[in-house]
Symmetry: C2
Subunit: 98 residues, 2 copies
Amino acid sequence: MNKELEKLLFNPVRLKILSFLFTVDSASFKKLIEVSEATKGNISVQIKKLEDAGLIKVRKKFEGNYPLTLCKITSKGKTSFELFFISLKSYETNKTEK
Amino acid sequence: MNKELEKLLFNPVRLKILSFLFTVDSASFKKLIEVSEATKGNISVQIKKLEDAGLIKVRKKFEGNYPLTLCKITSKGKTSFELFFISLKSYETNKTEK
DNA sequence: TAAACTAGTTTATAATATAAACCAAATTAA
DNA sequence: TTAATTTGGTTTATATTATAAACTAGTTTA
Protein backbone atom coordinates (compact mmCIF):
# COMPACT_ATOMS: atom_id res chain seq x y z
CA MET A 1 0.00 0.00 0.00
CA ASN A 2 1.42 3.35 -1.01
CA LYS A 3 2.32 6.18 1.35
CA GLU A 4 -0.38 8.56 0.12
CA LEU A 5 -3.11 6.04 0.70
CA GLU A 6 -1.83 5.08 4.12
CA LYS A 7 -1.76 8.71 5.12
CA LEU A 8 -5.30 9.17 3.90
CA LEU A 9 -6.60 6.27 5.94
CA PHE A 10 -4.56 7.03 9.04
CA ASN A 11 -7.33 9.33 10.19
CA PRO A 12 -10.17 8.27 12.50
CA VAL A 13 -12.93 10.13 10.67
CA ARG A 14 -12.01 8.89 7.21
CA LEU A 15 -11.40 5.38 8.46
CA LYS A 16 -14.76 5.33 10.22
CA ILE A 17 -16.49 6.52 7.06
CA LEU A 18 -14.81 3.93 4.87
CA SER A 19 -15.28 1.24 7.47
CA PHE A 20 -18.98 1.98 7.65
CA LEU A 21 -19.42 2.13 3.89
CA PHE A 22 -17.75 -1.24 3.73
CA THR A 23 -20.67 -2.72 5.58
CA VAL A 24 -23.61 -0.85 4.11
CA ASP A 25 -22.39 -0.05 0.64
CA SER A 26 -24.31 3.21 0.62
CA ALA A 27 -24.98 5.85 3.27
CA SER A 28 -26.23 9.41 3.56
CA PHE A 29 -24.29 12.43 4.74
CA LYS A 30 -26.43 12.45 7.86
CA LYS A 31 -25.70 8.84 8.63
CA LEU A 32 -21.98 9.42 8.24
CA ILE A 33 -22.11 12.26 10.76
CA GLU A 34 -23.75 9.90 13.21
CA VAL A 35 -21.31 7.08 12.54
CA SER A 36 -18.14 9.14 12.63
CA GLU A 37 -19.19 11.52 15.39
CA ALA A 38 -17.58 14.37 13.49
CA THR A 39 -19.00 17.76 12.61
CA LYS A 40 -20.73 18.51 9.31
CA GLY A 41 -17.88 20.63 8.05
CA ASN A 42 -15.38 17.96 8.85
CA ILE A 43 -17.44 15.22 7.18
CA SER A 44 -17.92 17.37 4.12
CA VAL A 45 -14.16 17.76 3.73
CA GLN A 46 -13.34 14.14 4.46
CA ILE A 47 -15.92 12.85 2.01
CA LYS A 48 -14.33 14.99 -0.65
CA LYS A 49 -10.89 13.60 0.13
CA LEU A 50 -12.08 10.03 -0.03
CA GLU A 51 -13.86 10.81 -3.27
CA ASP A 52 -10.80 12.50 -4.78
CA ALA A 53 -8.77 9.42 -3.94
CA GLY A 54 -11.35 7.26 -5.69
CA LEU A 55 -12.22 5.30 -2.57
CA ILE A 56 -15.86 6.34 -2.55
CA LYS A 57 -18.37 7.59 -5.07
CA VAL A 58 -20.68 10.47 -4.21
CA ARG A 59 -24.08 11.03 -5.69
CA LYS A 60 -26.16 14.09 -4.95
CA LYS A 61 -29.86 14.06 -5.53
CA PHE A 62 -33.06 15.32 -3.98
CA GLU A 63 -35.10 13.32 -1.54
CA GLY A 64 -38.44 15.08 -1.52
CA ASN A 65 -37.52 18.73 -1.22
CA TYR A 66 -34.21 18.27 0.52
CA PRO A 67 -30.80 17.66 -0.95
CA LEU A 68 -29.38 14.24 -0.21
CA THR A 69 -25.77 13.21 -0.48
CA LEU A 70 -25.23 9.51 -0.90
CA CYS A 71 -21.85 7.86 -0.53
CA LYS A 72 -20.88 4.46 -1.80
CA ILE A 73 -17.60 2.62 -1.44
CA THR A 74 -15.78 1.75 -4.68
CA SER A 75 -13.92 -1.46 -5.33
CA LYS A 76 -10.71 0.49 -4.94
CA GLY A 77 -12.04 1.68 -1.60
CA LYS A 78 -12.71 -1.87 -0.51
CA THR A 79 -9.29 -3.19 -1.39
CA SER A 80 -7.63 -0.12 0.13
CA PHE A 81 -9.48 -0.64 3.37
CA GLU A 82 -8.43 -4.26 3.52
CA LEU A 83 -4.84 -3.49 2.62
CA PHE A 84 -4.73 -0.87 5.32
CA PHE A 85 -5.60 -3.41 7.96
CA ILE A 86 -3.13 -5.89 6.61
CA SER A 87 -0.41 -3.27 6.93
CA LEU A 88 -1.54 -2.42 10.45
CA LYS A 89 -1.06 -6.04 11.41
CA SER A 90 2.67 -5.56 11.15
CA TYR A 91 2.52 -3.02 13.94
CA GLU A 92 0.33 -5.14 16.11
CA THR A 93 2.14 -8.42 15.76
CA ASN A 94 5.05 -6.93 17.65
CA LYS A 95 3.00 -7.61 20.72
CA THR A 96 3.46 -11.33 20.37
CA GLU A 97 7.23 -11.05 20.10
CA LYS A 98 7.53 -9.37 23.47
CA MET B 1 -9.40 4.58 25.63
CA ASN B 2 -9.73 8.34 25.77
CA LYS B 3 -9.87 10.65 22.77
CA GLU B 4 -6.52 12.34 23.41
CA LEU B 5 -4.70 9.06 23.55
CA GLU B 6 -6.38 7.73 20.44
CA LYS B 7 -5.44 10.87 18.57
CA LEU B 8 -1.86 10.53 19.73
CA LEU B 9 -1.59 6.98 18.45
CA PHE B 10 -3.48 7.58 15.22
CA ASN B 11 -0.23 8.59 13.61
CA PRO B 12 2.04 6.23 11.69
CA VAL B 13 5.33 7.54 13.08
CA ARG B 14 4.27 7.47 16.71
CA LEU B 15 2.57 4.12 16.31
CA LYS B 16 5.68 2.67 14.70
CA ILE B 17 7.84 3.96 17.52
CA LEU B 18 5.57 2.59 20.21
CA SER B 19 5.12 -0.64 18.34
CA PHE B 20 8.85 -1.12 18.09
CA LEU B 21 9.48 -0.23 21.71
CA PHE B 22 6.89 -2.81 22.63
CA THR B 23 9.17 -5.50 21.24
CA VAL B 24 12.59 -4.29 22.30
CA ASP B 25 11.84 -2.39 25.45
CA SER B 26 14.65 0.07 24.71
CA ALA B 27 15.94 1.69 21.55
CA SER B 28 18.17 4.53 20.46
CA PHE B 29 17.16 7.64 18.56
CA LYS B 30 19.05 6.30 15.58
CA LYS B 31 17.24 2.98 15.66
CA LEU B 32 13.88 4.73 15.82
CA ILE B 33 14.73 6.73 12.70
CA GLU B 34 15.46 3.48 10.91
CA VAL B 35 12.33 1.78 12.18
CA SER B 36 9.91 4.61 11.54
CA GLU B 37 11.48 5.85 8.32
CA ALA B 38 10.92 9.41 9.46
CA THR B 39 13.33 12.33 9.57
CA LYS B 40 15.37 13.27 12.63
CA GLY B 41 13.36 16.40 13.26
CA ASN B 42 10.13 14.49 13.07
CA ILE B 43 11.35 11.72 15.38
CA SER B 44 12.61 14.28 17.86
CA VAL B 45 9.16 15.87 18.05
CA GLN B 46 7.25 12.60 18.18
CA ILE B 47 9.45 11.18 20.92
CA LYS B 48 8.72 14.28 22.98
CA LYS B 49 4.99 13.84 22.47
CA LEU B 50 5.06 10.21 23.48
CA GLU B 51 7.16 11.14 26.49
CA ASP B 52 4.83 13.96 27.50
CA ALA B 53 1.93 11.55 27.35
CA GLY B 54 3.83 9.18 29.60
CA LEU B 55 3.91 6.38 27.05
CA ILE B 56 7.68 6.22 26.86
CA LYS B 57 10.56 7.22 29.09
CA VAL B 58 13.57 8.97 27.62
CA ARG B 59 17.07 8.79 29.01
CA LYS B 60 19.92 10.82 27.61
CA LYS B 61 23.47 9.78 28.26
CA PHE B 62 26.83 9.58 26.56
CA GLU B 63 28.01 6.54 24.70
CA GLY B 64 31.73 7.09 24.37
CA ASN B 65 31.98 10.65 23.15
CA TYR B 66 28.58 10.90 21.52
CA PRO B 67 25.22 11.74 23.01
CA LEU B 68 22.80 8.88 23.06
CA THR B 69 19.04 9.12 23.49
CA LEU B 70 17.45 5.94 24.75
CA CYS B 71 13.72 5.35 24.70
CA LYS B 72 11.86 2.81 26.71
CA ILE B 73 8.18 2.02 26.73
CA THR B 74 6.35 2.51 30.03
CA SER B 75 3.65 0.23 31.40
CA LYS B 76 1.15 2.95 30.48
CA GLY B 77 2.62 2.84 26.97
CA LYS B 78 2.13 -0.88 26.77
CA THR B 79 -1.47 -0.87 27.87
CA SER B 80 -2.22 2.12 25.63
CA PHE B 81 -0.80 0.34 22.65
CA GLU B 82 -2.89 -2.72 23.32
CA LEU B 83 -6.03 -0.71 23.94
CA PHE B 84 -5.47 1.12 20.70
CA PHE B 85 -5.57 -2.09 18.74
CA ILE B 86 -8.60 -3.30 20.56
CA SER B 87 -10.41 -0.11 19.55
CA LEU B 88 -9.22 -0.50 15.96
CA LYS B 89 -10.84 -3.90 15.86
CA SER B 90 -14.23 -2.21 15.83
CA TYR B 91 -13.39 -0.62 12.50
CA GLU B 92 -12.06 -3.76 10.99
CA THR B 93 -14.81 -6.14 12.05
CA ASN B 94 -17.16 -4.34 9.72
CA LYS B 95 -15.54 -6.35 6.99
CA THR B 96 -17.08 -9.56 8.23
CA GLU B 97 -20.56 -8.08 8.38
CA LYS B 98 -20.57 -7.26 4.70
C1' DT C 1 -43.67 36.61 7.01
C1' DA C 2 -40.60 35.72 10.34
C1' DA C 3 -38.35 32.11 12.87
C1' DA C 4 -36.52 27.80 12.93
C1' DC C 5 -35.00 23.82 10.61
C1' DT C 6 -32.56 20.77 6.89
C1' DA C 7 -28.67 19.64 4.41
C1' DG C 8 -25.02 20.72 3.34
C1' DT C 9 -20.34 24.01 1.77
C1' DT C 10 -16.87 27.41 2.51
C1' DT C 11 -13.62 29.75 5.21
C1' DA C 12 -10.87 31.15 9.15
C1' DT C 13 -8.05 29.47 12.69
C1' DA C 14 -5.63 26.36 15.38
C1' DA C 15 -2.95 22.24 15.51
C1' DT C 16 0.29 19.10 13.28
C1' DA C 17 3.77 17.18 10.39
C1' DT C 18 7.82 17.80 8.21
C1' DA C 19 11.98 19.47 6.11
C1' DA C 20 15.42 22.56 6.62
C1' DA C 21 18.37 25.08 9.33
C1' DC C 22 20.85 25.02 13.17
C1' DC C 23 23.96 23.53 17.32
C1' DA C 24 27.81 21.41 19.87
C1' DA C 25 31.06 18.34 19.83
C1' DA C 26 34.00 14.64 17.51
C1' DT C 27 36.46 12.90 13.80
C1' DT C 28 38.97 12.94 9.54
C1' DA C 29 41.50 15.01 5.85
C1' DA C 30 44.64 18.56 3.98
C1' DT D 1 46.34 22.92 12.80
C1' DT D 2 42.63 24.11 10.75
C1' DA D 3 39.10 23.25 7.59
C1' DA D 4 35.63 20.01 6.17
C1' DT D 5 32.69 16.29 7.44
C1' DT D 6 30.16 13.43 10.54
C1' DT D 7 27.39 12.36 14.66
C1' DG D 8 23.46 12.98 17.28
C1' DG D 9 20.49 15.45 18.00
C1' DT D 10 17.01 20.27 18.65
C1' DT D 11 14.65 24.26 17.01
C1' DT D 12 12.09 26.77 13.78
C1' DA D 13 9.71 27.93 9.52
C1' DT D 14 6.38 26.40 6.39
C1' DA D 15 2.99 23.67 4.40
C1' DT D 16 -0.77 20.65 5.31
C1' DT D 17 -4.71 19.29 7.99
C1' DA D 18 -8.51 19.26 11.12
C1' DT D 19 -12.10 21.58 12.91
C1' DA D 20 -15.52 24.87 14.35
C1' DA D 21 -17.91 28.61 12.94
C1' DA D 22 -20.03 31.12 9.57
C1' DC D 23 -22.42 30.89 5.60
C1' DT D 24 -25.66 29.29 1.56
C1' DA D 25 -29.88 27.93 -0.20
C1' DG D 26 -33.85 26.40 0.35
C1' DT D 27 -38.10 24.34 3.37
C1' DT D 28 -41.31 23.99 6.97
C1' DT D 29 -43.90 25.70 10.76
C1' DA D 30 -46.27 29.16 13.50
